[in-house]
């Protein structure tokens, strides 16, 4: 049964030590995959199970007593859907802007020009030193951006890390000969960037969209600091009130009130709202995970290229 490894047509018998290693490795990965997937699976099956079974801890590996009660409650909670629409807006507009601005800067930094060292230093320095939360907050207030939609779009517009990944990608995967040829044909930086670099940057555009998109979709802290108007809040900030609190009533009163109308009886509602929380998680996480799964093909390849420096 001993397997063989082929090295340039020469077969070499697998040693006993290697066979043991392979078995250990396989077991190791099965355990790791289980740890990774199980919590997510548990959320999904709990969200479609009978609330009583979930609360009794009977839902372990498979849904029990199929019920969509939780989802019905979530769909009737209007504030959640307002914030959902807000989040889609912030994510789509914000990420599109981020990708455009980052690509332009990444291209410029991949070429030689006078003053590049200073610009590079200015940008890298922000990675290691910042004004701190409060000066940033006062700055936003002085710019009259506090409590506006704009602040959620311009904050974190460019990430230094992503800029570096994009620059490395452009440097390493678009040959310099192409630039020289284009210049011979009379291209300037604009025409070269828009006609040659952008069409060749599909992979890195996909990677940047996922990076920026997911970061924006998942951010709750920016809105917590800079937004006061509840109608402007993104999804995660609203979710925080529902999910991350100890008390059953607490700050998420509105959520349970909406739930009570549906089921009758606040007592009952509070008990079953626990299950609706699982539904909230599913509803809010699906877009980010889907974006990743669809972009996955470009993603792994692009990140690899970008993360290898030089």
């Amino acid at each position: 049964m001993a397997k063989e490894e082929k090295v340039r047509g020469v077969r070499i018998k697998e040693t006993r030590a290697d066979r043991i290693f392979n078995i250990v490795n396989l077991v190791f990965w099965i355990v790791v995959l289980f740890i990774t997937i199980y919590p997510l699976w548990l959320v999904v099956i709990a969200s479609v199970s009978d609330p009583d079974a979930v609360l009794a801890g009977e839902v372990l590996f498979w849904p029990k007593g199929f019920s969509l009660m939780g989802y019905e409650a979530v769909f009737q909670y209007n504030e959640l859907w307002t914030s959902y629409a807000n989040s889609i807006f912030y994510t789509v507009v914000g990420s599109a802007l981020s990708v455009i601005v980052t690509l332009g800067a990444a291209y410029a930094l991949s070429r030689k020009f006078a003053g590049k060292r200073v610009v590079n230093f200015l940008i890298t320095f922000t990675m290691f030193f910042s004004g701190g939360l409060i000066p940033i907050f006062l700055n936003i207030r002085d710019l009259h951006l506090y409590n506006t939609r704009t602040v959620l779009i311009v904050m974190n517009l460019v990430s230094v890390w992503n800029l570096m990944v994009a620059r490395t990608y452009i440097q390493s995967s678009i040959p310099n000969d192409l630039y020289e040829a284009a210049v011979m044909d009379g291209a300037n930086h604009f025409t070269y960037f828009f006609r040659c670099v952008l069409p060749l940057s599909g992979t890195i555009i996909a990677v940047l969209s996922v990076y920026y998109g997911v970061a924006r979709w998942n951010d709750y802290f920016t809105a917590l600091v800079f937004i006061r108007d509840r109608s402007l809040l993104p999804l995660q900030t609203v979710l925080r009130e529902i999910l991350a609190s100890l008390s059953v009533s607490g700050s998420s009163d509105t959520f349970f009130a909406a739930y009570a109308d549906n089921l009758g009886g606040l007592q009952e509602a509070m008990r079953k709202a626990e299950v609706a929380k699982y539904c909230c998680i599913v509803v809010s996480t699906v877009p980010a995970v889907l974006l990743y799964v669809f972009m996955q093909k470009y993603f792994v390849k692009g990140v690899m290229i970008g993360s290898l420096k030089g």
Partner: protein, 326 residues
Amino acid sequence: MQQVTKATHSVRRPKVPLSRRFTRAIERDWQLWALLLPALIFFIVFCYFPMYGVQIAFKDYKVGKGIAASPWASTKGQLDLLKHFRNFFNTYYCGRMFADTLLLNLYGLLFSFPIPILLAIMLNQLNSKRFKGFTQTVIYVPHFISTVVLAGMLYLFFSPSTGIVNKVIEAFGGKSIYFMLEESWFRPLFIGSDIWQNAGWNTILYIATLTSIDPQLYEAATIDGATRWQKIKSIDIPHLIPVAVMMLILSCGSLLSSNTDKALLLQTSGNIKTSDIIGVYVYNTGIGKAQYSYTSAIGLCLNIINFIIIISVNTISRKVSDISLF
């Protein structure tokens, strides 16, 4: 010969005046600057303006007057620039906050730093290409879950009455634990959930390094009769060390600036003794109670310490191992 060329070069240069060189460079490169401009404006307005605003740490900030016009910090009419810093170091909880922040990050580094390296090495040893691809896809998924949802999952799974973890503990005859209110459980939960969420994602850099190793090395090793374990020890690990050291230097730069947003979600009245992170205190006192100058001073203090740590770690590493970020 070399000296001569150098000399003529330095004599020639001043013939073109600086202003002329400047206009020439602009004429030649203005399109690059135009592409760079939006990002540059962003960094100046949203990163460098706040650095200018950091001066309020040495002032008594008045909302009506703004940053520049507020008076310098003083006590009883006497100029006292370091007042806010001293006030912070004199608060009762200052020591606890420093300890909590530092310990959370140190433990976090200790446990979550080696795991991605281990995962990358083990992944690289998988024979089946399909299983490898599947595994790689799956271990990245938790990274795409938001901090709020992660905290929500912790609250649900570790709930004392209905959480699955306590149900399992009870099934084995144990007593249910109120994890979220237990001070001894804050760090394990915080760091454990961080590993679950990010260990897979953080393998990317290491996997990229491993795939860039010349396959001939492995072939030669196989022919010489090396086992997989020996190949890991003498090929994989030496190749990973430079990248690992770089990542270590980078994480040392944030030893005092842990995930404020996550700590804010997991802090409860019960676990405050271990979850009293400086970042959360700054948020609560600064944004919540509008003590802008005082909290700016705390923030500045942290940033300076972080900056000193990363510079010194980088210098030491450059001297000892020739590996450095800059």
